[in-house]
């Protein structure tokens, strides 16, 4: 597969300034930089509570005891790590376009994964190609040292033929229990996209859909009587691409994107439409920030 390095050093350094936004506090597993739902040891005060037997008396607020002669425990906000789920749709339809959608998705996943690693979050990557259990899986890693493993993993994933989105997503949500931001890189060109997203929404993920489309899917340059062959399913559709039909295609595309957006909005998901003609810098430093994915 694509052996060129996903990013160069300077770009990675620029990425370190970014962080993946998380709108809610979620409990993690290890100490991290994220606010957790737990109370724990950090510099940030959260609350007092009366001392009870067994509490660590190092955390007793002696100043309060001096004043009130009662024992209070100082509670601090626990900062823990986050599990960032990166899901890449590697169906055949993603391996398409110029710039290639899958390559674009891999780069975006790499960048976001690096940001997460740099933010001491755990990063896990799954590709949704092939059949269930067949896709490759990048187990949770922490720390910038895992970045190179991540990159090489991303470089090695390839498009996996026909993919049914809904069962793959259902399987993933059943397996990956850790809550955290979930970023799905897909073109959603599958009848099961709504079922799949619905199954994801049942978990406590903070889901962001990065809907990647290539320019020729936004504005197809077709003409004449054509038999369109699906690169993924080899299904055929016969059309007569005239002015009228292309205009209706664009209308249909806009309606579809709007439908997805409303679907996501109703379930607290973020929907970010991306065209691969968008320069990568702009995607990371402007586009995703505008859509509140990064900060």
């Amino acid at each position: 597969m694509n052996s060129t390095p996903l990013f160069d050093e300077t770009f990675l350094r620029k990425l370190e300034r970014l962080a993946i936004m998380s709108r809610r506090a979620m409990s993690g597993q290890l100490q991290g930089e994220r606010r957790s739902t737990k109370r724990g040891q950090s510099v940030e005060f959260a609350d007092f509570r009366p001392y009870s037997i067994g509490d660590d008396f190092r955390r007793i607020d002696w100043n309060a005891y001096a004043r009130l002669e009662r024992l209070f425990i100082k509670l601090f906000i626990e900062e823990e790590d986050l599990s960032v789920h990166l899901l890449i749709d590697t169906s055949k339809s993603m391996d398409w376009g110029d710039p290639n959608k899958l390559w674009y998705a891999r780069r975006a996943a790499g960048a976001l994964g690096y940001i997460a690693l740099a933010g001491l979050d755990r990063v896990t990557v799954s590709d949704l190609g092939g059949s269930i259990g067949n896709g490759s899986y990048f187990p949770p890693h922490r720390g910038k040292t895992a970045a190179f493993d991540l990159f090489s993993f991303l470089q090695n994933i390839s498009s996996g033929g026909h993919t049914d989105l809904a069962p793959r997503l259902r399987a993933y949500s059943a397996r990956a229990m850790l809550p955290g931001p979930l970023l799905l890189f897909s073109d959603l060109m599958d009848d099961g996209w709504s079922d799949g997203l619905r199954s994801l929404a049942r978990r406590r993920y903070e889901i962001t859909i990065l809907h990647i489309l290539s320019p020729d899917e936004i504005d197809p340059t077709l003409s004449g009587d054509l038999k369109l062959i699906d690169t993924e399913t080899s299904a055929a559709v016969e059309i007569t691409a005239d002015f009228d039909l292309l205009a209706r295609y664009k209308t249909g595309l806009a309606e579809w994107q709007e439908e997805i957006r409303r679907f996501c909005g109703a379930r607290g998901m973020h929907y970010v439409p991306i065209v691969t003609s968008l320069p990568f810098d702009e995607l990371l430093f402007a586009w995703l920030r505008r859509y509140m994915v990064l900060k």
């Binding site: 398409w96 020729d216 699906d230 005239d242």
Partner: protein
Amino acid sequence: MNFLAPAAFVFSLLIPVVIAMYLLKLRRSEQVVSSVYLWRRMVRDVEANAPWQRLRRNLLLLLQLLFLAAVILALARPYSWVEGASGESIILVLDNSASMNAVDVTPNRLEAAKTRARQLISSLPDDATITVILAGENASVLASSSQDRRLALQAIDSIQASAGSSDMTTALQLASAIAARQTDVEVIILSDGRTTLPDRISIKARIRYLPFGLSGDNQAISLLNVGPAPGSGSLTAFTQVSNYAESSAQRRLEIYVDGFLVNAFDLEIPATEQVAVLVEDLPPQTRLVEARLTQPGCSQPCIADALPLDDRAWAVYRSGEPVRLALVTDGNLFLEVALSLLPNVDLTAFSPTEYETHYPANHHIDSLQTDSFDLIVFDYYIPPGIWSTAVLENGEGVEQSPGLTEKPLSDLPPGNLLFIAPPHSTSIFTVSGALDGPLPRAVDMEDPLLAHVNLSGVSVLTAARISLPDWARVVIAGDSAGASIPLLFAGEVDSRRIAVLSFDLHHSDLPLQIAFPVLLSNLTGWLAPGKGADLSTYVSPGMPVSLTLPLGVESAVVTRPDGSRVHLTLEEDRMIFAETQQLGVYQVSWGEREHIDFAVNLFSPQESDIKPVDNLPVFGIDSGESEGHTWLARREWWRPLVFLALAIMLIEWLVYHRATLSQLNSQASGLLIALFPRNRS
């Protein structure tokens, strides 16, 4: 449906080619796309419209196939047999004789024939040449070998009904002459067959005859004559009514005298028979008798039979003024009795002395106006004024006097002259002796002066030897001993009629013969015709009328029955009028009040017998084609097919570009809105 060029159906092989190309076009070029997900979503919308979409596609194919089929059909030049003319050249011979006025077909036979002729012309191929010949009283070519249909149609339109006969013989000769110059000629005769036909004519063409007319139901006044009743002063009108129908007819004959109904007869006329009606005791001053044939119990106007044209007839009685005749003689009983017995003659007898007293030689011109005679008979006498100076007493004279050629008539008495046994030469003839015992012989038995005159048994003792002047013709010659002299010669000098009988009646047994009064009657009839006496009794439509008018009349006006007037300039007192196509009473007027009437009647059994002839017995037709086949003409249909193909092509273009057109339309309206935003508010 037949085809002139069935080979063009080879092109129908193009139809499967078109279908194949259409199918090839439908085998779409394959295009791999990332996913057909969106397309399928959209096509699902389209599926709702799919039948229409399919129809639209098929509509294009259908239109293309229709277009191709129309073009191939047009190339095959389909034609159908229609009734009409098919030749490269067509010669239409139209009959406009009187019988074509019959109203047994509406509006009448001639109009039906004209309508039919127009149809024939319009059904002709484009490059056909058209000739229109009118077989009327005088056959004429109205349009000659013209490809200009407008011209031919104008010629057809210009044909008018006439009351004359039709000269089909000449018309067919004209057609034959025209056909000889052309190829594939078709002669179409539009007539009712009531026409004179040549016995045999060779026309290098197919001849068709289109008969017009349905019935022969016609009754006609076939004769009307008015004359004095013998032995009484009244007049008698003789009328003959003919029934040409196959059944007997009840008709009423009305007789009008000078415009007033005087008598009416209800007649029962058997089929194909004639009934004669004699109307007696008409007043002697009668001028005009009119006979009308009507339907009994039918108030006018009433069309009783198919041809109204011959239901009226007119007769003009012209004997109001007697011929004034002067006889200058020493005494000739034969002459006096014979002349006085002539009808309608006012005879004045003079002795030579009386004559010279009344009419001195030098007063001839002055007396012309007041007291002139229509005819002066000089019996063995020559007025002194016209004595030839060269006459010798012994009768042997010089050939001619010197002054004769200069002013030959100035010294003659006015009016027409009859010289009997002239004793001397005159300025217009020369007596040069005598001949004994000439045997009279008629020079021309057909001469009207010798009508009913039998010269056999007439002997002449002696006759003056007169050499024939150049103005005269010999009527009776006398042969004796190898010599031949004119016994009676007549002629016209300066529009006056002069006859010379060269023997003395006393020296002949002619006055004792029956021939004498007849000859005298003929001579006076010719020499003193009276007003209109030289008019024919029966004038047929179209027949020229010749009429001698009194001396000095230079112009006359003819008023026709419809009131139109024709001004004529006379030559030598003779009027010739040929525009007698209308039936009715014509009036020739001159001077202040002088006039003569004459009537033109259709006394023509050929025209009145209007029963259409189904087959024209014309022989000598070169073409041997059977009748049934020649009635059919090809009508080609490629022209409407080409228009159909064009229309289909246009529709196909519109259907094909419909979407684009509507798009352009919306874009244009959008542009308009952008340009003129105020329009939106």
